[in-house]
């Protein structure tokens, strides 16, 4: 079974003359065990597409199957619970809760799923340990560097063992060396045979780490392969 299958996804924003068509009938399949990069210039529709894949934005038309479940056929509450069980999110700005420690932040998906606090934090600390942040587990986000906060966000995305991980520009706020380390880390700890990882990125310095690179332009997929897309898609 494919991790992600999408059929004829159409999405636009606004109404009337102000309406902007962002996605024009996207079809795509992503297999488990694949690290997939979604690349394209600003406005190409990649963030909209990943939002629809992750079930946080409803398409105007088309279907999204995640591990066989038609996610946009689910009512809002069931969709939220499906996301909680199935998807790990890594946001560009981390979105850590500033008053929680690193371990507590990483434990949030488990707590939301009803795991007791002590157990959730213990599991989160174990993931932070794998990410090299064991000594920082009791620190608040403001006491961590940008790269460390990014790793806490990665721990939060992986702590509940999701089957799909989606990342939005994970290296955007990092220097080249830190960005490459994060991508290597993601490949090392996030990628598993039963899990798919989709990363939205502009960063062509890390393209060599991807199993597959999908290039988008004007709401359409113009490149799908294992090599770097044409230079004009990355402008």
């Amino acid at each position: 079974m494919s991790a992600v299958e999408i059929f004829g996804i159409v999405k636009g924003f606004g109404t009337g003359e102000a309406r902007v068509q962002v996605l024009h009938g996207i079809d795509l399949a992503v297999e488990p065990g694949q690290l997939t990069y979604l690349v394209g210039e600003s406005g190409s529709g990649k963030t909209t597409l990943i939002s629809i894949i992750a079930g946080i934005l409803r398409p105007d038309a088309g279907r999204v199957l995640l591990f066989g479940t038609d996610v946009h056929a689910l009512p809002d509450r069931d969709l939220a619970l499906f996301r909680l069980a199935t998807i790990g999110f890594i946001f560009q700005q981390y979105n850590l809760i500033p008053t929680l420690t690193a371990a507590e932040n990483a434990a949030v998906p488990l707590v939301a799923a009803g795991v007791p606090r002590a157990e959730a934090i213990a599991r989160a600390e174990a993931v932070l340990e794998r990410l090299g942040l064991g000594a920082m587990a009791r620190r608040l986000p403001r006491q961590l560097s940008g790269g460390q906060q990014q790793r806490v966000a990665i721990a939060r995305a992986l702590v509940h063992a999701p089957r799909l991980v989606v990342c939005d520009e994970p290296t955007a706020a990092l220097d080249a060396a830190s960005g490459r380390r994060v991508m290597e880390l993601l490949r090392e700890v996030a990628l598993e045979p039963q899990r798919a990882v989709i990363i939205v990125t502009h960063d062509n310095r890390v393209f060599g780490l991807a199993d597959r690179i999908i290039g988008m332009e004007d709401g359409r997929i113009l490149h799908d392969g294992t090599t770097m897309p044409p230079e004009e898609l990355l402008a």
Binding site: I56, Q93, I97, T99, L100, V111
Partner: protein, 378 residues
């Protein structure tokens, strides 16, 4: 998720303390003003409570309050005594008078004439002197607060003399009595002596105080008195209620206190609502991330409810605590003597403020519930 909600709340010290201050202040203002109102209005009944022996008050048919009646002829006393079920009935006089203080100042006083034989009507708690001392010529018993007003300073208190309506009066006792609504100086004296102190017309008797015979219902006896005499007769607690109703109906007190209580509520809503809204807005991205991760709107409602309940609990505890401290600190002063803190006011205030906090929390959260989780990817 409750502990995450609390950590989000308490981690932002400034807003957290701002919320507690707002709720605490609002609770204090509402509870304290409502307490002052209840105690102040309750003083309208103190003149009646001060005579526990009498369970029926008889007066002119048009009387509206202790300080609002027309005098009765002495013959009415015999008529009331003749009504079946009346154990005893005694005259009671309440009149205004003027006193020249030792410093030469003029002070308005209430002269209360009690039955010469039984002395029914004199307060029970004597601080100095005795009831029997009242039988001496010109003797008066003065309430503690009134005495201090007329005789400021120290020194012996019994035997002090003053001029009451141009007649010599001698202080024969000091009594501890809760002030009446008008908070004037109270002079208790024998009925016959009072008639000399307070010159007036032929009819002088303000009230007839009566007691129902054992086994008789005072309200029923009061009805019999009304039927037999054409006078107004009220059972004691009913008469207290009448006096309180009179104060509420004919003074601006409820309106003024009502404004302050409403102000406390508005200030509370404004501070709490504004701060809560700012708190939610500052955490909008975090709430958005939680929604994207899969936290449901129901869980977010519970989080805000927990936050509301927490600040309400602590803020209300602070506010009610301060209200109690205020009353306990000042109820020994002349202005607030006898004031107490009714638990019903604390409970009512707590309920109102808790509802206010939860309502403002639910209003503040609307933005989060409407928030599109995809926003966190933009």
């Amino acid at each position: 998720m409750w502990w995450i909600a609390l950590r989000m709340l308490t981690g932002d010290r400034v807003k957290y303390l701002g919320l507690l201050f707002g709720i605490g202040f609002s609770t204090l203002l509402i509870a304290q003003q409502a307490t002052l109102f209840v105690n102040l209005v309750g003083r309208a009944g103190n003149a009646v409570w001060a005579v526990p022996e009498a369970d029926i008050w008889v007066m002119d048919a048009k009387a509206v309050a202790v300080d609002g009646t027309l005098p009765l002829p002495d013959t009415d006393l015999a008529r009331v005594r003749g009504v079946p079920g009346v154990l005893w009935a005694v005259p009671h006089l309440r009149e205004g008078g003027s006193v020249r203080t030792p410093e030469g100042k003029l002070e308005r006083v209430s002269v209360i004439g009690v039955d010469d034989a039984s002395l029914i009507g004199v307060p029970a708690r004597f601080l100095e002197g005795s009831r029997e001392a009242l039988r001496a010529p010109g003797a008066i018993v003065v309430d503690e607060i009134g005495f201090r007003r007329i005789f400021p300073g120290k020194g012996a208190r019994l035997g002090r003399e003053l001029e009451l309506n141009d007649r010599r009066a001698v202080v024969a006792g000091i009594v501890d009595v809760d002030p009446t609504f008008t908070s004037g100086v109270l002079f208790y004296t024998r009925y016959a002596q009072a008639l000399e102190f307070v010159p007036g017309t032929r009819n002088r008797m303000s009230f007839i105080l009566a007691r129902a015979a054992p086994g008789e219902d005072p309200r029923e006896v009061a009805r019999r008195i009304e039927a037999a005499t054409g006078l107004k007769a009220r059972e004691r607690t009913d008469w207290v209620g009448d006096n309180i109703d009179y104060v509420i109906a004919f003074t601006g007190i409820p309106f003024n206190f009502g404004i302050t209580v409403a102000l406390g509520f508005v200030v509370g809503v404004a501070i709490v609502g504004l701060t809560f809204s700012l708190f939610i807005r500052d955490n909008l991205r975090q709430f958005g991330a939680l929604k994207a991760i899969g936290v449901t709107n129901g869980q977010i409602r519970v989080m805000v409810l927990v936050q509301s309940a927490w600040i309400a609990l602590i803020g209300i505890a602070i506010g009610t605590g301060l209200a109690v401290v205020f009353i306990e600190s000042f109820n020994n002063t002349d202005q607030f003597k006898g004031f107490f803190q009714p638990w019903q006011i604390l409970a009512g205030t707590a309920l109102v403020v808790a509802l206010m906090v939860v309502a403002t929390g639910m209003l503040a959260i609307r933005g989060v519930l409407r928030l599109d989780p995809a926003e966190v990817f933009r």
